[in-house]
Amino acid sequence: MFDAWTASFTGLAPGGWERIGAWVAALITCAVLSYAINPNPVARAMQFLLAGIAAGYATAQAWNLILWPRIQLLVQDPRSYWAYGVFMVLGILLLARGVKPLAVIGNLPLGILFGGGAALALGGALAGTLAPQLRASMVSLAPRYYGGGIVGWAYAIDAGLLLIGTIAALAAFHFTAQGKGRLGRAWQSALQGLGALGRAVIMVAFGVVYAGAMVTFFGILVSRLTFLAGFVASLSRGG
C-alpha cells in the first residue's frame, strides 16, 4: 500500500524507493568508510546525519507509538486512563527546566525520574548481579562433589582456578598502607602477591575482551562490504 501510494505521488514504480534507499545507503557507506583513509568533512557530515536522523526517527516513533495513542485513550476515557494524564503533566513540567523562573517546578519530575531510575538500577544490580555472583563464587573444591574420578578432579581444579582468580582479582584492587608488626607485614606481602596474580588475570580478561571487540568490528566491516558487493551486483544485473 505504501509503495502504491508513493508511486501515485511521485510517479516512481513500486520498489523505486528501495532503489533510491540502496543508492543512498551505498553512498553513505562509502563516505563513512573514507574516514579510514583520512578524516574528511564528508565522513564527519555523515556522522552528523546519522545522529540527526536517529534522533528524529526516535522522536517520531515516540510520538506515534507512545504519546499519540495514550493521548487518544485519555481523551476517550479519562476515568479509566487518568494515570496517563498525571504522567503527561509530569512530562510537561519537565519542559519548565528550560525557563529560568520556572525551573524549580521541573525538579519534581526530575526527582521522580532519577530517583525511580536509580532505585531500579541499584536494586537490579544488587539482586541481579551482586548476590548471584557472590553465590556463584561459593564453589566446592571437593572432587567427590562433582562425581569423583578424573571428571570430578577436573571440575574441582576448574572451581579452584575460578576461586583463586576471583580472590586475586579482588586483591589487585586492595590498596592499604604498610602493615605494622610481623603479622601485618605477612598479610601485606600475601596481598601484594595475590594482587600481582590478579593483575595478570585482569590482563588476560582484557585481552579476551579486546579480541572479542576485534571480531565484532571485523564483523561490522564485513557486513558493510557485503552490502556494497550486493549493491554492485544488483547494479550489474540492471536492478
Binding site: A36, A54, Y57, A58, Q61, A62, N64, L65, I66, P69, G116, G117, L120, A121, G124, A125, A127, G128, T129, P132, Q133, R135, A136, L162, A205, V208, V209, A211, G212, A213, M214, V215, T216, F218, G219, I220, L221, V222, S223, R224, L225, T226, L228, A229
Partner: protein, 502 residues
C-alpha cells in the same frame, strides 16, 4: 630612633654618632616604602614589612593631589643633618629599650618631644656616595613643610582622607620603629603603568576570553606529531591486510567452513530450541543497534529459523525504534520463507519499551508499555499469540540479542522476576563480560557473534550466512597472530638494544 647601619644599634633620633660602635650617623638616610610608609634601612631593595620594591619607585611628593593622598605614608627620604645646631645630648641606652623594640610595644620613648626644634637648614646636604646613590633627584621637602602646606589648605578637611594622619608627628611614632611595631593599614597606591610581563598576561587572557586563536596561528605552534615512516608503513600494511581479509569474508564461499564444528554448548542450545512445541511462546528482545546487525543478524536468523521449525510462537520486543525495525526485518524474512509465518498468529512485534530500566521492569507485571501495536492498530491482547498470556511472565523462554554490556545486564537484572530460562546471543566483545552470568545460572546459553554464529548455523541446520565468512575469520586470525609475533620481536629486539647501550 635611628638604627646604626653598621651595628644595627638603635640610637636616639638626634644622635650623630652611634652609641654602641661610635660610627658616624651624619648623612644617614633611610628610605620610606611607597606602599606602606615604613622606613627601611638604606640598602634595602624591598620593604621589610610589605616587600614592595623601594628603590625603583620614587616617592611622589610633588603636586597637591599626590601630597594630599600619599604623604602620610610616603614621607620621602629624610636626611639627618650632620651639623644640627641644637642637638640634644645623647641619651645612653637603657636596659628596657631593646625589649621594648623587639616586643613592638609603643612606649613613651617613641614620643616625639613637643619642644623639639625644627631643623634649621632647608637646603640639601652633602650625603656621600650611599646617599647620592639612593637620593631622589628632586628636591626633598621635609614633612614639617608638607604639614604647613596642608594647614594652608582648608579643602584637606573635606577630602576623603579626613582623619587620616598626614605626618609622622600625627602618627606619633618614630619612623624606624614602625618597621617593627606599626600595624598594617590600607594605603592608597597610586596607579602605575603595567610591566611587560603584565601586558603579555593581559593579552593572553584577552585571547583566552575571545576564543581560540585562528587556525593559521594555532598551526604555527603545533608540533609535528607524525609518526616515523616505518610505523606508518606497517600500519598501512596491516590495514590493507585487514581489508583483504574482510573482502575474503564478504566475497568468499566459505571453503574453510568444513573445519568448523559446533561446540557442545551450542549444540545443546539448538536442541533446546528444537524441543519447543507449538504451545510454547518465546520472548525475543532485540537490544542491539543496526551497526551490529552484521554480527548479530545471523544469530537472530538462526534463532528464528529454529523457533519456526519448532512451531513456537514469537513475541518480539525492543528498547528503541531501531530495535523494532530490526525485529520486523528479521521476522519479515521468516514470513516470506517457506514456513510462511503469519503476523498475530505465529509472531508479533510488540513495539519498544520506553524508559530503559523502568520499561524492562514493567514486563514483570504484564505487557507493560506494549499495549498498542501502532503498525497494525490493535492492542496486544487481541492477537492470538498473546491472547492467552497475561504478561511476559507467562512466556516459556526468552532470547536476548544485545550489543552492549549495560543493556544486556539491564535485561538480565530486571527480568529476574520472570523466572524464565534465558539464552543470550551477543556480540563477540560481550562474551567475556557475560560469561559469569552463565556460571551463576542466570543465562542458560551464551553464544557470541562471529565464529559462534557459524557454529550455531551448523548446529541448527539453518542458512549458511555466517559460514560464508569463515575464510575471512581465518585470515583475521592469521593477521592477528602475525602482528602479535612481529610486535613481540620488535619489542624484544628494542629491549636487547637498550640493555647493550646501558
Amino acid at each position: 630612633m635611628i638604627v646604626c647601619p653598621a651595628c644595627q644599634h638603635p640610637n636616639p633620633e638626634d644622635a650623630r654618632t652611634c652609641e654602641h660602635c661610635g660610627g658616624s650617623l651624619a648623612g644617614f638616610v633611610y628610605r620610606a616604602c611607597p606602599r606602606c610608609g615604613v622606613l627601611n634601612p638604606p640598602d634595602n631593595t624591598f620593604c621589610n614589612r610589605c616587600l614592595a620594591r623601594i628603590q625603583e619607585t620614587e616617592p611622589q611628593v610633588d603636586g597637591d593631589e599626590a601630597s594630599e593622598c600619599i604623604s602620610p605614608f610616603t614621607p620621602g627620604v629624610k636626611t639627618i643633618p650632620p651639623q644640627h645646631p641644637a642637638a640634644p645630648p645623647v641619651r645612653p641606652v637603657r636596659d628596657g629599650d631593646r625589649e621594648r623594640i623587639s616586643d613592638g610595644v609603643a612606649t613613651g620613648h617613641r614620643r616625639r618631644p613637643p619642644q623639639r626644634p625644627e631643623p634649621a637648614p632647608e637646603k640639601e646636604e652633602p650625603t656621600g656616595d650611599l646617599v647620592g646613590r639612593i637620593l631622589p633627584r628632586k628636591p626633598v621637602r621635609r614633612s614639617s613643610e608638607l604639614s604647613r602646606q596642608r594647614e594652608r589648605k582648608p579643602e584637606r578637611e573635606r577630602s576623603a582622607f579626613r582623619g587620616v594622619p598626614h605626618s609622622w608627628e600625627e602618627l606619633d611614632l618614630l619612623p624606624i620603629e614602625a618597621t617593627i611595631a606599626r600595624p598594617h593599614r590600607p594605603t592608597y597606591v597610586p596607579p602605575r603603568s603595567p610591566t611587560d610581563a603584565e601586558r603579555d598576561l593581559s593579552e593572553w587572557l584577552d585571547q583566552l576570553i575571545q576564543g581560540p586563536p585562528p587556525l593559521a596561528a594555532r598551526r604555527r605552534v603545533q608540533k609535528d606529531t607524525r609518526e616515523p615512516f616505518g610505523v606508518r608503513a606497517v600500519r598501512l600494511i596491516l590495514a590493507l591486510m585487514l581489508l583483504a581479509a574482510a573482502l575474503m569474508a564478504a566475497g568468499g564461499s566459505g571453503t574453510l567452513a568444513q573445519l568448523v564444528s559446533p561446540r557442545e554448548a551450542l549444540v545443546d542450545l539448538a536442541e533446546t530450541w528444537a524441543s519447543l512445541g507449538s504451545e510454547d511462546t518465546v520472548l525475543m528482545a532485540f537490544a542491539y543497534s543496526p551497526s551490529y546487525s552484521g554480527e548479530l543478524s545471523p544469530l537472530a536468523d538462526a534463532a528464528v529459523a529454529s523457533l519456526v521449525a519448532a512451531d513456537a510462537d514469537i513475541v518480539a520486543v525492543a528498547l528503541d525504534p531501531a530495535g523494532v525495525a530490526l525485529a520486523r526485518q528479521t521476522l519479515a524474512k521468516a514470513e516470506q520463507g517457506p514456513a510462511g509465518l503469519v503476523y498475530g498468529e505465529d509472531y508479533l512485534v510488540g513495539g519498544y519499551l520506553s524508559g530503559y530500566h523502568a520499561g524492562v521492569r514493567s514486563l514483570c507485571k504484564g505487557w507493560g508499555g506494549l499495549q498498542v501495536d501502532a503498525l497494525h492498530g490493535r492492542p496486544l491482547n487481541e492477537w492470538d499469540v498473546t491472547a492467552s498470556l497475561s504478561g511476559a511472565s507467562d512466556v516459556d523462554r526468552m532470547i536476548l540479542l544485545a550489543d552492549d554490556s549495560a543493556k544486556a545486564r539491564m535485561w538480565i537484572e530486571q527480568l529476574g522476576c520472570l523466572r524464565v530460562p534465558m539464552d543470550a546471543l551477543v556480540t563477540g566483545q560481550l562474551e567475556a563480560v557475560l560469561a559469569p552470568y552463565v556460571l551463576s545460572g542466570q543465562i542458560d546459553h551464551l553464544a557470541a557473534g562471529g565464529v559462534a554464529a557459524a557454529e550455531l548455523e551448523l548446529a541448527t541446520g539453518t542458512s549458511a550466512q555466517a559460514l560464508r565468512w569463515t575464510d575471512g575469520y581465518v585470515a583475521l586470525l592469521a593477521i592477528l597472530l602475525l602482528a602479535a609475533v612481529a610486535a613481540n620481536v620488535v619489542y624484544v629486539s628494542k629491549e636487547a638494544g637498550s640493555d647493550e647501550r646501558v
